[in-house]
Symmetry: C2
Subunit: 512 residues, 2 copies
C-alpha cells in the first residue's frame, strides 16, 4: 500500500485519503521553507548574545570530563586547558566551525528517494526522542517496549509529513540497556527506508551503530557520506561528560552527523532570562561543534537546543514564552554561525492528548518552524514534556504538521493566483463555487483533514460525538493492521541479524 | 475582589493567584507589541495584491444596495455610479482613507484606567462575537441566553488578558431580536467597565447604542472621542447591504469606530487562492473605510477581516493555512495603508474543547498576534468556528492569551539580562536555583499557569486525572460565584434602565 504516494504532497490525511489514486512518486522527502524566518531578536540583540557566549567560553570555560583525548584536541588547537576545564579565546570556536563545518549536507536513506537535505531552507521532521513511557491504545500508561518502538517506526514510515524516523523514539525497556541499541538500529533499518539516528549511550554502542550502518550503505558510501546522525548532549551548565564525548568522537571520526544539543532548564541548569539561556546554549553548542571539526574537519554537525522554563509555584519545568523565545533566538544564532539548526517540537506538559496538549504542542511546533529549523526532533507523539509517547497524539501531531507544512509554502502572487476574469462573470454578490478559477484548483487548494473534524454539529453528533483522540485511535489501529514492511535485501537482513546475535552473545545483560 | 490587580501583569492565572497581594494599579489596559510582525509577503507581493484590489474596485466595482445616501457620497467624491454599482478610479479609496483616517486612536472605557489604544504596536483582545449556541458547564449545547451573555461579560471583565468586552459575544435568544440590543449594551456597561462594541443589526439599533453610550460618557466626551465600536460586514463578494450601510452611517456620523470586516469563504464568497482572497478582502475593506471618511473625515475606522477555506470533501469551512495566510497578509496591507487592523482569534472547527480545539485555536491566535493585529476579536470561547461559545474554552483560551502576551514582550538583551558573575560562583556543573540572578527574578520570570497542568504524572493522577476542560469548569464556577459587579453611578444606572424600558415599550416583539 503506497500511503506515501503522489497525492500525499504535505497533508497527513491528504496522503492517505488519495491513496487509491494511480501510483506516483513518493511524497517530497523533506520540506523547503518558502516563508521568512521569524526573527525575534534585532541584529544588535543577536550580537550581544554572541558576545556573552564568547564571555562564557573565555572567562568561565567548559569542563570536558574523563576524556583526555578531547583535552588534547583543544590544547593543540590553542585553547587553555586547566585540569578538565578548557577556556577558549574569543572567536576561537566560531572560527574552527566556520573553517570546515558544512552549512548544508545530505543525509542518505536506505531508499535513495528519501535522502534528506539538512540546512538552508530545508526542513526535516522526525518523531519524539527518548520516552520511557507509552500511552497505549487502551489509554494505559506503561513502560514502552520494543513492539511500541517498532510500531512508531512503522507509523513514521508511512506518514508523509514525517521525513525521518528519528532515534530512540521510546525506550524498549523489555530489552537490556546494554543490548537494546542493536534492536533499535535494526528497527529503523527494517521497518522503514527513511533516514535515522543511532545510539549515543556510550562509545562502543555508537561504534555498533557505525558497524550496522556501514553494512546497510556499503563502505564506500558510508565513508564518504552522512548515513546516520547521533544526538550529543552536554551536561549543562558548561560540562561534557565521558559518554557524550566518546559518542561525539565515534560519529565525527566516521564522518557521521553530530546533533550537538545543550539542554537548559531555566533556574536549574542555567539562568532564568531568555537572553542568558541563549548565551549558554550557544556557548555549549559551539564548543561541541568545534570539537567535531577538530576530530574530522568537514564532518556534518548540527546546532541543537532544548530549553524549559519553570513553574515557580510547583518547581515543574514548563514550555511557555521562555522556551519559544530560545527556539527563535537560537535559529538566528545558528544562521549567523552558518550551521544547520535542530530544535522541536510538539511538546506539552499534559498527561493526555487533551486541549492543553493541543495548545502547547501547536505553538511550540509553530515557533520551531518559524525559527528556520532544519532538523525537527520531537515533531510527533510527545506527552509529559517527552516522558511519554502517545499513539493517538502521534497522528494528531502529524496532522498538524501537514497544515503547518502548507503554511511554509507561503503565498503565491503570480498572475495565475488572481481571478479577475471570474469576477467579471460572477459579479458582485455571486458565488465562486463554479468559477473557472475555483474548478481548476479545488482539488489541491486546501489542507484536507479527517482527524480534524469539520462536520456540522449534527453530523458530528450523529457520527458518535468522537473527540480527536478517539478518531486518531481508530486510525492508528487501521494503519498498523495494514502496514506493509518496506522491501529489504534478504542478504543484508540476515547479515544484520547475525551481527546482532554475535554482539548480544558477548554483551552482559544490564537493565540500568 | 481585585482579580485584575497588580500581580496580574499578563498571565491569566498569574493575575488571579496573586490577588491576595496588596492592592495596586490594574493590569495594563492593552498590550504593546515588542516583537516584529511576521511578514509572509515580500514587498512586491504586497504591491501585487494592492494592484489587484484596485483592479477589482475599478473594473468590477462594488454594489451598495438600498441606500441612496451612500451612492450620493461616492458620486460627489468622483466615483462612477451605475445603478447601485460603484466603480472607483485606481487609488481613489486609498487616498480618501489616507487623507483623514487615524492610524491610531483611543477608545474610552467607563473606567478611565481601562481606555485602550487601537493601532500601531498596541494590541487589544476581546471575546468571541456572535455565537447563537452555548456549551454550558453541564456539557449541554443549547441556545444562548442573556444570562450566558452577562456571564461572559463578567468573565471578560475579570480576566486580565481580556482588554475589551467585545460586542454580541453570544446571542441572547431568550429576548426578541428587536429588543435584545438594548440588554446587550446595558450588559456591557453594567457588568464591566472595560470598553465595548454596540449594535449594528439596523440603523435604528445602532442609534439606540449611540444614545445609551452618550448617557454613559456624557455629550462632550461622546461627541469628541471614540466611546464605542461597531462591526460593519459587507456581503461578500463586493456587496454592502442596507443594514450594514445604515449602521456604518450612524457610527461614522457620530465619530464612533467602524470595524469594517469583509468575510471571504474561499470557493464560495470569493476565489480559492490566498492571494485572490487577500485582494478581495482589501478591496471590500477599503470601500467601506473610504465611506466612513466621506461621512465624517477623521472618524475612527479599522480594517477587519474574516476568511475561511473549505474542506473539499465535505464542503465545510475550515481554518488552515489559507486563513492563516490571509491574516498575515492583511496585516501587511493594513500597515501599508495606515489603518488599525482587526482579525482573530481562537478559532476551531471542533465541537468540544478537545485536542483539535487546542491545536487550531493556538495556531490561529498566534498568527493573528504575529500579523500585528490591533483589535483581536474572537480571542476566547469559540467552538464550531464561532457558532458556539464554551465556558470552559473561554478560560483555556484566556490562559493561552496570557502566554502569548508574554511572548509579545520579546527578549531583553540589556546587560542586566545576563548572568556572567553568577557563572563565576556556580561554575561548570553547578545549579542556578540559588544564584543571585535567579533569586532576583524568579517571582516574575515565568508564565504561571494553573489551568495548564505542569504537575508530575503521579501528582496529576492523584489529583483526579482531570483534563484541561475539567479544570476550567471548576474555575468558571468559582469566578462567577465570587464575581463582584463593578461600581456604577446609581443615577446613570437608573437612566439607562429607564431608556431601555421606554424603548422596549414602543418596539414590537420579533424573534427573527
Amino acid at each position: 500500500m503506497a500511503r506515501d504516494s503522489q497525492g500525499a504532497r504535505r497533508g497527513g490525511r491528504r496522503g492517505r485519503q488519495e491513496r487509491t489514486d494511480e501510483p506516483g512518486p513518493i511524497a517530497p522527502p523533506y520540506l523547503t521553507r518558502q516563508i521568512p524566518t521569524f526573527d525575534i531578536l534585532s541584529e544588535e540583540g543577536v550580537a550581544r548574545i554572541e558576545e556573552e557566549s564568547e564571555n562564557l567560553l573565555c572567562e568561565i570555560g567548559i569542563e570536558f570530563r574523563d576524556h583526555p583525548e578531547t583535552l588534547e584536541y583543544f590544547r593543540k588547537a590553542g585553547a587553555t586547558v586547566e585540569g578538565v576545564l578548557v577556556k577558549f579565546e574569543r572567536g576561537m570556536c566560531r572560527e574552527i566551525i566556520q573553517n570546515s563545518a558544512p552549512t548544508t549536507f545530505q543525509q542518505h536513506a536506505r531508499n535513495p528517494e528519501r535522502h534528506v537535505m539538512i540546512g538552508g531552507d530545508a526542513m526535516v521532521f522526525s518523531p519524539l526522542y527518548g520516552a520511557p513511557f507509552v500511552r497505549d491504545l487502551d489509554g494505559e500508561r506503561r513502560y514502552a517496549t520494543i513492539d511500541d518502538f517498532n510500531n512508531f517506526i512503522r507509523l513514521s514510515h508511512q506518514t508523509p509529513t514525517m521525513h525521518h524516523t528519528g532515534g530512540t523514539i521510546c525506550e524498549p525497556t523489555d530489552i537490556p540497556v546494554s543490548k537494546r541499541h542493536l534492536d533499535m538500529v535494526y528497527g529503523h533499518i527494517r521497518h522503514s527506508d527513511k533516514p535515522f539516528m543511532g545510539a549515543v549511550t556510550s562509545g562502543w554502542q555508537a561504534q555498533d551503530t557505525m558497524d550496522m550502518t556501514r553494512m546497510v550503505f556499503g563502505a564506500e558510501t558510508f565513508d564518504s557520506q552522512c548515513c546516520v546522525l547521533g544526538m550529543i548532549n552536554p551536561t549543562s551548565p558548561l560540562v561534557y561528560d565521558k559518554d557524550a564525548l566518546e559518542s561525539l568522537h565515534v560519529y565525527a571520526a566516521n564522518g557521521q552527523g553530530t546533533v550537538v544539543t545543550p539542554f537548559v532548564i531555566a533556574g536549574a541548569s542555567g539562568p532564568v532570562t531568555p537572553a542568558s539561556m541563549l548565551a549558554q546554549l550557544f556557548a555549549e553548542g559551539m564548543a561541541g561543534m568545534a570539537l567535531s571539526q577538530l576530530i574530522r574537519p568537514g564532518s556534518p554537525t548540527i546546532f541543537g537546543i532544548n530549553s524549559m522554563g519553570l513553574n515557580m509555584r510547583t518547581g515543574a519545568p514548563v514550555r511557555f514564552d521562555e522556551s519559544w523565545k530560545c527556539v527563535l533566538g537560537c535559529g538566528q544564532l545558528s544562521r549567523r554561525l552558518g550551521v544547520p539548526f535542530r530544535c522541536g517540537g510538539a511538546s506539552t506538559n499534559s498527561k493526555i492528548p487533551d486541549a492543553q496538549a493541543g495548545y502547547e504542542s501547536a505553538l511550540y511546533l509553530n515557533y520551531t518552524v518559524q525559527s528556520g529549523v532544519n532538523f525537527l526532533i520531537h515533531a510527533a507523539g510527545s506527552l509529559e514534556l517527552g516522558l511519554c509517547i502517545s499513539y493517538e497524539k502521534f497522528l494528531l501531531d502529524c496532522e498538524m504538521l501537514g497544515a503547518i507544512s502548507l503554511m511554509a509554502d507561503g503565498i503565491d502572487t503570480s498572475d495565475s493566483a488572481f481571478a479577475l476574469a471570474d469576477y467579471a462573470v460572477t459579479g458582485p454578490g455571486g458565488n465562486f463555487l463554479a468559477a473557472e478559477h475555483t474548478l481548476a484548483r479545488y482539488k489541491t487548494a486546501f489542507f484536507q483533514s479527517e482527524l480534524f473534524d469539520s462536520l456540522s454539529f449534527e453530523q458530528w453528533r450523529d457520527a458518535g460525538s468522537n473527540d480527536a483522540p478517539a478518531r486518531a485511535n481508530l486510525d492508528v489501529q487501521t494503519q498498523l493492521a495494514n502496514f506493509e514492511e518496506p522491501a529489504i535485501d534478504p542478504g543484508l537482513d540476515e547479515a544484520l541479524l547475525d551481527f546482532i546475535k554475535t554482539r548480544k552473545a558477548v554483551l552482559p545483560d544490564s537493565y540500568v
